[in-house]
């Protein structure tokens, strides 16, 4: 008997989601940690768009640079406006008040990573 393949087949290009990477900055007086930002963003988006909306947006915090407060948020390209608007609703992370600011929207993660370095 042929052994079962452990990894999944690659998703064909035509079936893959188109993504956008939002490069943002959280301006706060104190340092923010990546885990805190991730939890607070997930909670916020879930509250704002509901479970179905949140799942459709395919949101994920790719990276957060704790030193300069800049991060990358991935979303499905058709939900870009929702993701951008949602990000602006974030006013607190672990009781630390902040001002969110969107720096740029990119189509590739490589370009986004260059921007937050």
């Amino acid at each position: 008997m042929k052994p079962l393949k452990k990894s999944l087949n690659a998703i064909p290009l035509s079936l893959r989601d188109r993504k956008r990477y939002i490069v943002f900055e959280l301006i706060a007086e104190k340092k923010l940690n990546e885990n805190g930002v991730r939890i607070s963003l997930n909670k916020l988006f879930l509250q704002l768009y509901g479970e179905i909306g949140f799942s459709k947006m395919n949101l994920n915090l790719i990276q957060f640079n704790e030193k300069n407060g800049k991060g990358i948020l991935r979303c499905r390209h058709s939900f870009l406006e929702e993701a951008k608007a949602g990000l602006l609703f974030s006013g607190k992370v672990n009781e630390i008040k902040l001002i969110p600011r969107i720096l740029r929207v990119t189509g590739t993660v490589r370009k986004a990573k260059e921007l937050i370095a």
Partner: protein, 206 residues
Amino acid sequence: MIDLVFFNERIFDLKAIAETESMLGNSAVILAKNFSSEKELKELKEKIEREKFDFRPCHLITALEPKELNKFKGKALVAVLGGNVTLNKFAVSTKGIDFLLQPCTEGPLSFDTAIAQTAEDNGIPIAFTFRQFLEMEGMKRSFLFRNYSFTVRLIKKFKLDCLIFSGAKFYDQMRSIKDSTSLLVLLGFTREQAERLAEKEFGENK
């Protein structure tokens, strides 16, 4: 891009506002306040002159008093803080009012076709503030979204001018106006319309 803050001397400092707003990419700020006298406005204007940033004072009418308008007309921008039918009607039907601020609340709808028609006739822009959405959550925020979505439909139908401001009462409520256009898109404008509205030059320094 022009922002508006609800100015309170106890909370805000002009230098700090200028610093934060420049960081957010906003080029000018309207300082909205219910001035008690002309002297108070004059004092603020003197302070503004010392700053390099583009500050524009604005008298905020919060109650139905037409006398207030005559007192400040021509000396500063004059806006009406809406939210109920009486004030909204007063704002759109009175010439000399520069814009109607916050036409809706989470309560019953206070903006209808008659108000929109009058606003069109008199050319009064309608201004939204991001703070209203920021301060609420749950059911209240959803009702606010519902009321504003309907208001946007009327604004589009009657081709009214629309403005978006952060309307901050504290520093952490300030937002970039360019980013806030996403909220306008959520409310029903297209991306192009929202960008055009945000870039519009408004209320030159008086």
